[in-house]
């Protein structure tokens, strides 16, 4: 995959969320929704469910309740991930139901550690086919995938681990703000969002607000408009996760999800009401 074919030439278009999902996310795509606890693009995930996308390969370091929902809704046939849980609460029951009992369908897994996933995005953002790390050695993970291989240092002979680049068809992230030209700004815990956007062929950024001017912020990350495909203004688009400077994490919502997620009927009712 040649990043330069797909990214970065026109400026980002400002769209509504339904328009953006319709334009950018297709059945069968590899889709990464990133945001490490902070700024999770939940509203975009719900829109994907509403538009009934099927056959997606979902990518995410920390699949949490929005991925539980996408999996339970039958959008995904494969998951590339490193930690799938409801942080501080427990299991993702829809994820478990798919893996343990193939409901609503089978879910293929491509499983890594956080270090491996982060480096796969780094390679993707860097236009490299692979990344090198000290990782996985002695664990049972390499036996379950062909995406973890040994590699020898050409200078010292030491054996390390290689993982292939991740280059999603679409990356979706949430940010605090964009300006009217489509330049995006996020701050606080910024996770792996920059890498996900730069690694992907297309990108959608939902934002709390569109402003005239992005005043510089400590810890701020800016994604220039010309590396973003679409921006959609979606206030509250990260709830129940949080947007630093806008609203806090709704921990009760995460706790309440446990009961809904445990039960297929309760989940189906939730889905029907979405």
């Amino acid at each position: 995959m040649n990043v330069s074919e797909g990214v970065g030439w026109a400026l980002a278009e400002l769209m509504t969320l339904p328009e953006a999902v319709a334009a950018l996310v297709h059945d069968g795509d590899t889709v990464a929704l990133e945001g490490f606890t902070h700024l999770i693009p939940v509203a975009a995930g719900h829109e994907i469910i509403r538009q009934r996308r099927r056959g997606l390969t979902l990518v995410r370091m920390t699949p949490d309740i929005v991925y539980d929902q996408l999996i339970g809704a039958g959008c995904a046939t494969k998951l590339i991930f490193s930690w799938g849980g409801n942080p501080g609460v427990g299991s993702l029951h829809r994820f478990r139901d798919a893996v343990e009992r193939q409901w609503p369908g089978p879910l293929e897994l491509e499983e890594h550690s956080h270090a491996g996933m982060a480096n796969r995005y780094v390679a993707g953002a860097s236009g490299l086919p692979f990344a090198v790390l000290r990782g996985y050695r002695g664990t049972d993970l390499p036996a379950q995938t062909d995406t973890i291989k040994p590699i020898e240092c050409p200078f010292t002979g030491e054996v390390l681990t290689a993982v292939p680049a991740l280059n999603p068809d679409v990356a979706i992230v949430h940010a605090q703000r964009a300006d009217r030209r489509g330049n995006v700004q996020l701050w606080g815990i910024t996770g792996v969002q920059k890498e996900a956007v730069l690694a992907a062929s297309r990108s959608l950024v939902t934002v709390e607000e569109v402003v005239d001017e992005l005043d510089p912020r400590p810890g701020g990350v800016v994604l220039p408009s010309w590396v973003v495909t679409a921006v959609a203004e979606v206030p509250g688009g990260a709830r129940p996760s949080y947007a630093q400077g806008y609203y806090d994490r709704d921990n009760d919502h995460y706790r309440a999800w446990d009961a809904i997620s445990r039960d297929r009927a309760a989940f189906t009712a939730w889905l029907d009401a979405l």
Partner: protein
């Protein structure tokens, strides 16, 4: 392991476990903090014996000073109170991987005699697991790269198994020499702290050995809660019960009435 003056008051086994874990962090510089029990213990350590302890969370926060333990490893207060926030790739590549963090603090669903950790699947088959667990997260590289690793989990035969169903993170592998052969540069798990006592790998065999019992716990209880034939250290000690200060700080941290 001696502790401060006992509280005299009542405390739970979980409280004892957390206090023992917090005490273990004394004298350390930086701790890579897993979610849940490790996070509570690390925050308690900052409030009791080690106010300068640098808390490092995999979300990218370095030097966070949360007023209460975060539910997730990426709560907003972590970023707001941190010395610096870095990207997730930077956290793993520049901070964890080179061995810059002296203690990695992990939980586990299963742990075996050589302190290998499973957080992936329960059951014989990875493809058709009995229970699908969350997976690796940061643990494999925390276990590989931190100078030392502490593990904290509740003691019971379903958790303390002869051999983990899936080796998510390497402890002492198959025993002496395993870590060296794998090129793992940290010392691996040096303490396993439970609600019954404390285990350490035997320096010769690497097998987890009971070194301390918490107040009111017997060797038989600890052995019954362990799925292998648990060795007991000849110098078996007694953990000092939580002090009044430790208990008060722990309960304040959890937002409970002390």
């Amino acid at each position: 392991m001696t502790g401060p003056e006992p509280s005299g008051g009542r405390f739970s086994a979980d409280e004892m476990m957390t206090v023992a874990a917090a005490r273990a962090l004394q004298g350390h510089t930086a701790c890579f903090v897993g979610i849940g029990l490790p996070s509570v213990a690390a925050n308690l350590a900052r409030r009791t014996g080690n106010p300068g302890l640098v808390l490092v969370y995999e979300s990218g926060t370095i030097g966070a000073r949360p007023t209460r333990p975060p539910l997730s490893i990426g709560d907003g207060e972590l970023a707001e109170t941190a010395d610096t926030v870095v990207s997730v790739p930077e956290m793993f590549n520049y901070w964890l991987q080179p061995g810059r963090i002296d203690v990695g603090f992990l939980g586990a669903a299963q742990i075996d005699e050589f302190a290998n950790i499973n957080t992936t699947v329960v059951g014989d088959s990875y493809r058709e697991p009995k229970v699908r667990l969350p997976g690796a997260g940061g643990a494999p590289e925390i276990a590989a790269s931190c100078r030392e690793v502490f593990v904290v989990l509740r003691h019971g035969p379903r958790a303390f198994v002869p051999r983990v169903d899936f080796r998510t993170s390497v402890g002492h592998g198959d025993g002496p020499g395993s870590r060296e052969r794998l090129g793992l540069r940290g010392r691996g798990p040096v303490l396993v702290i439970t609600d019954l006592g404390i285990l350490s790998p035997d320096p010769r065999t690497c097998a987890l050995t009971l070194t301390h019992l918490h107040e009111g716990v017997t060797v038989e209880q600890a052995r019954a809660a362990t799925g292998w034939d648990l060795a007991v250290s000849p110098g078996l000690g007694r953990t000092a019960p939580p002090s009044t200060v430790e208990l008060a700080e722990l309960r304040a941290l959890l937002g409970e009435d002390s």
